[in-house]
Point group: C2
Chain length 140, copies 2
DNA sequence: CGGTTTCATAAAGGTGCCTTCTTGTGCTGT
DNA sequence: ACAGCACAAGAAGGCACCTTTATGAAACCG
């Protein structure tokens, strides 16, 4: 679950790390679920619809490694593993919530913008919008 | 630049769209730069270190399509194209900033957590941590 | 004995993002 | 005539991520 940050400069490496983390298809969904309280593996799996077992395991491991999630393995049998947000994880949940709220509120606006764009830039026309006649003006 | 959201339920589709958007390797870096003011294509390219021309073009198009960025083509020669955040884009920049601030403040904490994790879960040892002896207890 | 439960891991395959390299446009300055 | 500039778009290839399917451990139950 390493972010693809090959060329990112050192100063903003943590930024792009967090950004790819929450940009992952599933990570923020997991965090959001765990915001509601601790959960066992299979409960989480049922609540995060469509996630594969392998990816859920890997995502949780990554979150645990970064200190956002705590893994509590009850030595029963069959095994029972509980996952919960750490205080650090709850801190991350806060700006994440701000973003999801934005998405929820503005989803329609985004869709409208897309529709408008697709209409003006007639969608898959190969002869795309010939350039307006340039006026000869050297800039700079 | 379509997000990979195959199995996401309708209710949270805009959420995962926004999330993949800002989780893209470059998108939020671009937005952050544009927060500082309008910029021409090549200036942007120089400021977002390491981005390839192709991806910068594609990212800007996606942002324009979603209504976050405005593209202003001055009909000079050689062409001069200016990109700027729309008001909608500036709105998005706000929760994004909250997240980057979090990353900046807590980057060290994350790194420390990782180091601690790697030390306890001896890193790439194949014989990984044998399970504690389970106590026979049927749960529920 | 054989099937079930809970969690973890592995192999195989697909898909999309990203990178480098290359080509194109239309007027510029030399 | 020719190279250069500012921007765009294409092909080829790599790699990360994700999905499905299958396997394993270890004790339980019928």
């Amino acid at each position: 679950m390493k972010p693809r940050n090959g060329h990112i400069s050192d100063s903003c490496r943590p930024i792009s790390e967090v950004l790819s983390l929450i940009g992952n298809k599933w990570t923020s969904l997991i965090i959001t679920r765990l915001t509601e309280g601790p959960m066992r593996f299979n409960v989480l799996k049922r609540n995060v619809h469509g996630i594969s077992q392998k990816v859920l395991t890997a995502s949780l491991r990554a979150l645990e490694r970064d200190g956002f999630v705590e893994r509590i393995e009850h030595p029963t049998v069959p095994p029972s593993v509980e996952y919960r947000l750490t205080p650090f994880g709850r801190e991350l949940g806060e700006p994440l919530l701000a973003l999801t709220r934005f998405a929820l509120v503005n989803g329609a606006r985004m869709e409208a913008a897309r529709a408008a764009y697709d209409e003006t830039h007639d969608i898959p026309a190969p002869g795309a919008e010939p350039r307006r006649k340039p006026i000869p003006l050297r800039l700079n």
